[in-house]
């Protein structure tokens, strides 16, 4: 019985009481809020790691394309990932092609996202919000698009796997994890605290 009671109490605390305490703690204090512990980069999911990585590869690929169109030396951009990931020229070309595909498909999804964002914003004329009627949670469609984007990153990662072959992919993926992922950081609450401009004469009430 003791176990059952304990389990129940934990569940109810987490669901009902925890959030209230959390909100009180977060919203009601005038003193600085202790920073949350940032997620260790080693735990970043592939969807988070590969997204900026593909953007980076595509951006350098476009720079190289521009230079080549002007008959200028593009080697630096073409070779940046050869050195970084210890891959050969063919593998680097394949990586760029996968990144281009990702970029093109992401743009299609993002166009839908942007459309919804604009529609959402249009519902709040001049950006004015009514504190008595807070906006609803983001549209479920937005959530679906978010999942679509996340799945696209993973799909393109798997395409890279298919292109490189399993053995080479594992080697390159390990280098992406050790050389690229550490450069990706979830935004730290501590850094936000440092960045915010405080004013002693703030008017905190609704206008």
């Amino acid at each position: 019985m003791g176990f059952v009671k304990t389990l129940f109490c934990i569940g109810m605390y987490v669901f009902l009481i925890g959030p209230l305490l959390e909100e009180k703690q977060l919203c009601g204090q005038a003193s600085p809020i202790p920073p949350l512990t940032p997620l260790p980069t080693a735990l970043l999911p592939d969807a988070v790691v590969y997204k900026p990585f593909f953007h980076h590869v595509a951006a350098f690929g476009h720079k190289a394309d521009e230079l080549e169109a002007r008959n200028e030396d593009s080697r630096g951009y073409r070779e940046a990932f050869i050195h970084q990931l210890n891959i050969n020229k063919d593998q680097a070309d394949s990586l760029t092609q996968v990144a281009y595909q990702f970029e093109a498909k992401e743009k299609l999804i993002q166009a839908k996202v942007h459309e919804r964002v604009l529609a959402f914003r249009a519902r709040y004329s001049g950006g004015r919000l009514d504190p008595a009627n807070p906006p609803p949670r983001p549209d479920p469609e937005m959530y679906a698009l978010f999942l679509e984007k996340r799945d696209l990153v993973l799909e393109m990662r798997d395409q890279l796997r298919q292109t490189l072959g399993e053995v080479e992919f594992q080697r390159v993926n390990a280098l992406i994890r050790t050389k690229i992922a550490p450069n990706i950081q979830p935004i730290s609450p501590a850094s936000v605290h440092e960045n915010i401009v405080q004013s002693p004469s703030t008017n905190s009430g609704g206008k």
Partner: protein
């Protein structure tokens, strides 16, 4: 049947369901921003490349545009800077820089990652914002009213004031640093550049090269160096031990036709043999663990030397590929590479 166990069972179900609901409520949906900053140096072009990007998750996109302010510093002094605002709704913003690298310098790329309130760009005084469905999380980030006119929570907490509709998601400490290598000051600089310009996977550094043969080598340095650069060669220890063991197995002295080749030499040899577009970009001769041994074009000698090499742990090129004029042996397996089964029988 008493009602107490049934009641406790319902309580148990409620408790477990509550935990699951809570877990589901806060999981998976992205409510964060990511900063990515990286700096790289390419020896072949002697250039430093910096890149920084801000990614916003979708609920933030409802209210903010991704913005990034990137700075590339050399030895602590900013030498390039720029910013990008995702005004077109890509969902991310990035800037990149390219500058010539100076030897023995430290380069740092840093990014300041922000959310810019595009939704409020046309706001008049009195405009406000709302930060999404998991308010408490972002409250922890002190993201409150931007202009001090509106406080959604309207509680005892005094929101900070910002001078413009911009939210500092993080002065990203996500900087990346590299230190450019010092040049070798001799022909090795030219050889190293060949590895980059000709697309070889290996990227040697000054210390990869030697100018003398290892003590105890059965061959002289000049016998093992077939490159365009007589003073420098990459010669791995596996080559020395492998050739010594091969000669011991063979029972008579061996003569090398070719050893280390710089990439340009390898390309010229291959294209000279008609391999115009598919020269061996990653030949083991460029890695410093391969040797071609003379056979006098005698088949029995070819077979004997090849067998001696295989016994010494070499990858041995089949006769069908090389012909009988020489035996190609390499010890790539000591370098973590593999060769096909035909090269091992």
């Amino acid at each position: 049947m008493t009602s107490l166990p049934r009641f406790m069972f319902v309580l148990l179900l409620l408790g477990v369901s509550a935990m699951l609901l809570r877990a589901q409520d806060t999981s998976d949906y992205g409510e964060s921003a990511y900063g990515y900053s990286i700096v790289t140096f390419t020896v072949g072009t002697n250039q430093v490349y910096g890149y920084t990007e801000t990614d916003l998750d979708p609920d933030l996109e409802n209210y903010y545009e991704a913005k990034v302010n990137g700075k590339l510093a050399k030895n602590g002094t900013v030498v390039a800077s720029g910013l990008d605002l995702d005004a077109s709704g890509l969902g991310y913003a990035y800037v990149s820089f390219t500058i010539p690298g100076v030897a023995n310098s430290t380069y740092t790329m840093s990014g300041i990652h922000e959310g810019w309130m595009g939704a409020c760009s046309d706001c008049v005084a009195g405009g406000g914002y709302y930060d999404g469905y998991d308010e408490s999380y972002w409250t922890a980030f002190n993201i409150y009213a931007l202009d001090g006119f509106f406080d959604f929570y309207n509680g005892p907490y005094t929101p900070p004031v910002r001078p413009n509709p911009e939210i500092g998601l993080g002065t990203s400490s996500d900087s990346a640093t590299i230190t450019t290598p010092a040049p070798c000051g001799d022909d090795r600089d030219t050889i190293i550049k060949e590895y980059y310009s000709l697309g070889v996977t290996l990227h040697p550094v000054c210390s990869s090269f030697s100018s003398t043969a290892q003590l105890g080598s059965i061959f002289t340095f000049s016998q093992l160096n077939s490159s365009y650069f007589p003073d420098w060669a990459i010669l791995l220890s596996s080559l020395y031990s492998g050739t010594a063991n091969t000669q011991s197995n063979y029972g008579s002295s061996l003569t090398p036709n070719s050893g280390y080749r710089d990439p340009q030499k390898e390309k010229d040899i291959d294209t000279g043999q008609g391999m115009t577009s598919i020269w061996t970009v990653n030949s083991r001769h460029e890695y410093g663990d391969a040797v071609d041994l003379a056979t006098g074009s005698i088949l029995t000698t070819f077979n004997s030397i090849r067998s001696a090499g295989l016994k010494a742990g070499a990858c041995a090129e089949p006769k069908a590929n090389s012909g009988v004029a020489h035996v190609h042996l390499d010890w790539r397996t000591s370098d973590g590479a593999t060769c096909s089964s035909l090269w091992l029988q």
